[in-house]
């Protein structure tokens, strides 16, 4: 099965929104990267500094988050991965509270208990998990609950191409199809499972082919093209909202930076080409050529994004550290 193809020209406002979302994400990720490394030198101590721990940033993968989440509303659920910021921002997670959580502060989404891999914003039904492919099963349950209570809300489960080799992925696709749950599975193929290149991990050329094994449509979007993601995701979300069941969408995207910050990426032979493949300047140029954006609006979008990120980080650093005496809070409701 495949989606019907339609290559309608997107409305200018949609294009601008896609671009703006990508810029907001990049602005956030660049700032977090800078804050993360600011006090880890000389040398690199992963547990030191104002943002401790592993940090998985999503620069280059903005087209997936922007293209998919443009079809969602706050009542739709999204589950993301250990690399969650881009999806969170695109789905409308409170950026300030997310920043505060990344900084490990009391004002964070989880009052500093979760950290950057465990972000939960019930206002927009967003969650993420640090365990590969294990964000899919809870998305099934959210979709099940949505259908149970009526309405046409959907759940989107975002995961990476490495996850497509996990049992949880296959169990989830089968169960979602069997019960015709309103789920959209999104695979971000960034070519790398940490240091293992996709051809060394995956037997099929396209994970979208795996959809056939579960009687659902599958589609792969090439070239990290945000508009193609938007169109494909639109078809999948519409199918889920219509009660026709789940779909699988794979996007060939780009991990511009390391698996985590501090990753030397010595295994990677394609680093020299990464900058040229950055999706944001490419899309900006397309919109400029099409007359949808001009230089002034590009600058305004960048300035607005920077200001939003500045406010978020200011909120984060102004928020107090959690009280060590409360370290055992929140285990039980």
């Amino acid at each position: 099965m495949a989606f019907a193809t339609s290559e309608e020209v997107l409305e200018a406002a949609v294009c601008v929104d896609l671009y703006r979302t990508m810029v907001r994400i990049r602005s956030f990720e660049e700032r977090i990267r800078s804050e993360y490394h600011a006090d880890k030198s000389p040398g690199f101590d992963i547990g030191a500094g104002r943002i401790p721990g592993e940090m998985h940033l999503a620069a280059g993968q903005e087209p997936v988050a922007a293209g998919v989440c443009a079809h969602l509303r706050p009542s739709d659920a999204v589950t993301a991965t250990h690399r969650p910021h881009h999806v969170a921002i695109a789905h409308g997670v409170d950026m300030a509270k997310m920043a505060a959580e990344i900084f490990g502060r009391e004002g964070g989404l989880g009052h500093g208990r979760g950290g950057h891999m465990h972000l939960f914003d019930p206002a927009v039904h967003f969650s993420c998990s640090g365990i590969i492919a294990e964000g899919l099963p809870p998305a099934l349950g959210q979709a099940f609950a949505f259908r149970h209570r009526g309405g046409d809300d959907v759940a989107v489960a975002v995961t990476g191409e490495g996850a497509a080799n996990q049992g949880a992925f296959h169990e989830s696709l089968n169960l979602a199809a069997l019960w015709r749950l309103p789920v959209v599975f999104v695979v971000e193929d960034n070519d790398w499972g940490i240091s293992v290149a996709r051809p060394a991990s995956t037997a099929v050329a396209s994970n979208a082919d795996r959809a056939a094994g579960y009687a659902m449509p599958g589609e792969r979007v090439e070239n990290n093209d945000v508009e193609a993601v938007y169109r494909a995701a639109g078809r999948a979300v519409a199918r889920a909202r219509a009660g026709e069941g789940p779909s699988l969408l794979e996007v060939h995207t780009l991990r511009m930076w390391g698996h985590f910050e501090g990753d030397p990426q010595t295994y990677r032979g394609d680093l020299a080409t990464v900058e040229d493949r950055d999706p944001i300047p490419h899309y900006r140029d397309r919109l400029l050529e099409a007359g949808i954006l001009d230089e002034g609006s590009v600058e305004q979008i960048a300035a607005d994004a920077a200001a939003e990120v500045e406010r978020a980080v200011a909120f984060a650093v102004a928020s107090p550290e959690p009280d060590p005496a409360a370290a055992t809070s929140y285990v039980f409701a």
Partner: protein, 348 residues
């Protein structure tokens, strides 16, 4: 058998009902499904079969396939589905057919279901009941006979309840469903009163017909005694009661403490009992090391080592997989013979 925490009002004209533990468990589920439309049950063979160990008999007929759902053999997917549904306001009961199968879905249980409330700083509640059959004694061998309550209890974020008798099976089920946290509800196959398995005579017991909660986190004195405390759970409660009756003839007055809940553990009840008896035997059908038996003893020793006038004794599964052959399995289970020997040892 001592049953507490039941409503006291009952018409004297109505004779007491006696149910098996399985039927009492189902009655608890059904009464909550009747009361609360957000409760549903899912798992393997829980529909037309009614649960391999009769945990859902009759529910499909009563509530239909939307609320009593057979799943594929995909424990990771359906365990996670329960978590997601709970996050969105439903109250799932999800059955793991044997606790031994935890290995294929423990990430969803431990890393997701049990941690989300914490990781979210209390902003997301996960009211799931995980039901699972535990225990050996019928030669089902190493992968279908374990208790494993110590494993669930060790990992933070789940309550763990283990009814030993029909009244508690109903009351703890209702309490578990109404609890806003993940609750692991472990029922011993040998205590369910199944017609196709050797069973204790106490698998049949008086059960009030109305809905009631047995409080989670409260142990109960199943038999009062002066000389030694036997702290235990599940089927071993019945073995301990049987042995207590026997050794009474030898002049040993045994107190049997049914812990009923491992998380949260009723440490006060343990200390209170031992402070009266001075002697402690812990009977645990789970593995010996790093588990419930050590935790119970540590509870006493940390509070006041002088409460004990004799070294405590553990009766648990020595740290081996459960063997298949009957003689071998009986050699490692906490049988009445081993419990009796432990009571004699500690009261010598």
């Amino acid at each position: 058998m001592t049953v507490v925490d039941q409503p006291t009002s009952r018409s004297p004209a109505v004779p007491p009902r006696r149910l098996t533990m399985a039927k009492a468990m189902v009655e608890g589920i059904a009464s909550e499904m009747e009361r609360d439309p957000s409760v549903f049950y899912l798992g393997e063979d829980v529909g037309a079969y009614g649960g391999i160990f009769s945990s859902t008999t009759g529910l499909l007929e009563r509530f239909g396939p939307e609320r009593v759902r057979d799943t594929p053999i995909s424990e990771t997917a359906f365990m996670g589905l329960a978590t997601g549904a709970a996050v969105e306001g439903l109250r799932p009961i999800v059955e793991l057919m044997f606790a031994d199968f935890f290995g294929v879905c423990m990430d969803q249980i431990s890393n997701h279901m049990a941690k989300i409330h914490f990781e979210s700083g209390g902003n997301v509640k996960v009211p799931v009941v995980v039901t699972s059959a535990v225990g050996g004694g019928y030669s089902d061998a190493a992968q279908h006979s374990q208790c494993l309550w110590g494993t669930f209890a060790h990992l933070p974020g789940m309550k763990v309840v283990i009814p030993s008798n029909p009244a508690d099976a109903k009351g703890l089920m209702i309490a578990a469903i109404r609890d806003d946290n993940p609750v692991v509800y472990l029922f011993h196959k040998g205590a369910m009163g199944l017609p196709w398995m050797s069973k204790t005579h106490r698998a049949l017991g008086e059960v009030p017909s109305e809905a009631y909660e047995t409080p989670i986190g409260k142990a109960v004195v199943a038999r009062s005694g002066r000389d030694v405390t036997v702290a235990t759970v599940s089927l071993s409660v019945h073995h301990a009661l049987d042995v207590a009756d026997e050794v009474a003839a030898d002049g040993i007055d045994v107190e049997v403490l049914d812990l009923r809940t491992l998380v949260p553990l009723d440490r006060e009840a343990i200390v209170e009992s031992v402070s009266r008896t001075g002697r402690l035997v812990v009977v645990d059908e789970d593995y010996h090391s790093y588990g419930m038996s050590g935790e119970v003893i540590a509870t006493v020793v940390e509070r006041d080592p002088s409460l004990l006038v004799a070294a405590p004794v553990r009766v648990a599964v020595p740290d081996v997989p459960i063997p298949y052959a009957r003689a071998l399995e009986q050699a490692v289970l906490p049988t009445p013979e081993r419990i009796r020997a432990a009571i004699h040892a500690v009261t010598r």
